[in-house]
């Protein structure tokens, strides 16, 4: 593995509740090089919170603490909000789940992508529009000039997600965090969007954290997988070896997914008592 881009040790995310503090991420540690890392788990497992805490996007009253949270040698824990803003987007960026809610509805697509670029760099206007069009083309939008003038509600979900990817990649970040980038999309478009992310990651030699609840999807697009349950990493393995997973939670998750050649009369359901006792 190359020199780690991101190092996390003992990361905790805590929310206060009337019954005392609740840890939604409970002391997890991992390192990421320029590779594709998948984080999988059910709703409430803390996978999205992990992604957000890297960008320090956890709002009060939530709290993030870690023994180490460093990105490319920079200690993210100590950074001021102002310096953090210089990192967000430019060095680490994040693709959100649903393009319908994450794009600005009153700005054209071209303007939004240009804004992502201009926030971090001063560039002549002509170069900006050239780069926006080139970026749209590289996410396989056939007619970039026309699409750049459209508003988000005028494009389909799959195209909206490609626009978001273009916006996140145009400042050329080193690390991309994709939080369920395809779960709002159709199966037929899903593959396309993932291929685009994959192609861009490879071409620019970036790191990727791919957060999803879909084990099969993650195992086919990542190099390494972390399985999370109730705020802890229960299993870490190479993507190809997912089927040799040992933890009962991982095995339960794999077994509960129906297959195309499904012949089981009943699907096994997760027995949560099996590992809760440990």
């Amino acid at each position: 593995m190359s020199k780690p881009l991101l190092e996390i040790e003992n990361l905790r995310v805590t929310f206060p509740t009337p019954r005392g503090d609740l840890d939604v991420v409970r002391g997890i540690s991992f390192a990421l090089g320029r590779e594709r890392l998948g984080i999988v788990g059910e709703s409430g497992s803390g996978k999205s919170m992990t992604g957000r805490s890297i960008l320090k996007l956890i709002r009060a009253p939530g709290r993030v603490s870690a023994d180490r949270l460093s990105f490319d040698g920079i200690d993210l824990r100590e950074l001021s909000e102002r310096r953090m803003r210089a990192i967000r987007g430019a060095r680490i960026s994040m693709v959100m789940q649903d393009p319908k809610f994450s794009l600005n509805p009153v700005m054209t697509i071209g303007e939004q992508i240009a804004e992502a670029l201009l926030t971090h760099k001063r560039l002549p206007r002509r170069e900006v529009s050239q780069r926006v069009l080139a970026m749209l083309e590289s996410v396989r939008i056939a007619d970039p000039e026309r699409v750049a003038k459209l508003y988000p509600h005028e494009v389909s979900g799959g195209m909206g997600q490609r626009v978001m990817i273009a916006m996140m990649l145009i400042p050329e970040p080193d690390l991309l965090i994709a939080d369920e980038p395809t779960s709002a999309l159709d199966v037929s478009v899903q593959g396309q969007v993932l291929d685009i992310i994959d192609e861009q990651i490879r071409r620019k030699g970036m790191g990727l954290i791919f957060i999803s609840h879909d084990l099969n999807l993650v195992s086919s697009y990542c190099d390494r997988i972390l399985v999370m349950n109730t705020g802890e990493i229960v299993e870490e393995c190479r993507a190809g070896e997912l089927h040799n997973a040992t933890h009962p939670y991982t095995r339960g998750l794999i077994a509960s997914i129906p297959r195309l050649d499904e012949n089981r009369d009943e699907l096994p359901v997760l027995d949560r008592s099996a590992w809760a006792a440990k």
């Binding site: 059910e42 709703s43 389909s156 979900g157 159709d186 199966v187 037929s188 478009v189 899903q190 593959g191 609840h213 879909d214 084990l215 099969n216 999807l217 086919s220 339960g252 998750l253 509960s256 997914i257 129906p258 297959r259 195309l260 050649d261 499904e262 012949n263 089981r264 009369d265 009943e266 699907l267 096994p268 359901v269 997760l270």
Partner: protein
């Protein structure tokens, strides 16, 4: 006997024609799947059957009795729908009890207390949930309420619109098992819309592939499991699913 029959069904929204001459016959007790990408018109077919898209031509009939274009109480008794997203389909300010009683009140059915209890037991919801609000339930429990709401009128046909796509995989397994058991116990007929082919393999007997408002192929699920669908578009769908599986 044919439970649900669609003949030459063409549905429009305003001036836009969504489906073009859809023909489907579903036998009693059969589980039939409708698959295709977004915009193919598969959900619109369900909506027309349920009476939510009244602008249709052709015929829709259940057990030989045709459906009228307006509100059709008899049809509704025989045919109920479960919606995709249990976070959106349950009234946030109605308790489970109120949600389950409403269809009974609308259809003037007596013995409501016992029927609500039976419906809750059959979907595996504990009695303690009866006076809770949807926000006090998990996603899986809500979908159980939505299924109980459909079953409380003791219909013969259930229309399922992506019943598990808003749920986690582990919860999806629970709901799929539940649907399979209910179908066996109550001899229900299913018409399910989904884009998840493995779910079709698990739950259905036959599958129709839709594209641009037309059915391009109807096949047995056995053929789907072997990957032996004929139409090039159907094969493409199988390939996409298979890509994710390995």
């Amino acid at each position: 006997m044919t439970a649900l029959s669609l003949k030459d069904l063409s549905i429009s929204y305003g001036d836009t024609r969504i489906t073009h001459g859809v023909n489907i016959d579903i036998a009693e007790g059969e589980s039939f799947a409708l698959v295709g990408e977004s915009g193919s018109g598969k959900s619109t077919v369900l909506k027309a059957i349920a009476g939510l898209a009244p602008q249709w031509a052709g015929s829709i009939s259940a057990f030989g009795k045709p459906r009228s274009h307006g509100i059709d109480g008899h049809f509704a008794r025989a045919c109920q729908m479960v919606f995709q997203d249990p976070y959106g389909s349950l009234h946030p300010r109605k308790t489970v009890d109120a949600t389950l009683t409403e269809p009974l009140a609308i259809h003037g059915v007596g013995d409501r207390n016992a029927r609500v209890e039976t419906a809750m037991t059959s979907v595996g919801l504990d009695r303690k949930f009866r006076f809770r609000f949807p926000h006090q339930l998990s996603g899986g429990q809500r979908q159980r309420v939505a299924i109980a709401r459909a079953l409380v009128l003791q219909p013969k046909i259930l229309l399922l619109d992506e019943p598990t796509s808003a749920l986690d995989v582990s919860v999806q397994a629970e709901i799929l098992n539940l649907l399979k058991r209910l179908r066996r116990e109550q001899n229900l007929t299913f018409l399910m819309v989904t884009h998840n082919l493995p779910v079709v393999s698990f739950l259905c007997d036959r599958v129709a592939v839709m594209r641009h408002g037309r059915i391009v192929e109807i096949a047995d699920v056995a053929a789907l499991k072997k990957g032996e669908l004929q139409d090039p578009y159907s094969r493409e769908l199988i390939e996409l699913s298979a890509d994710h599986a390995d």
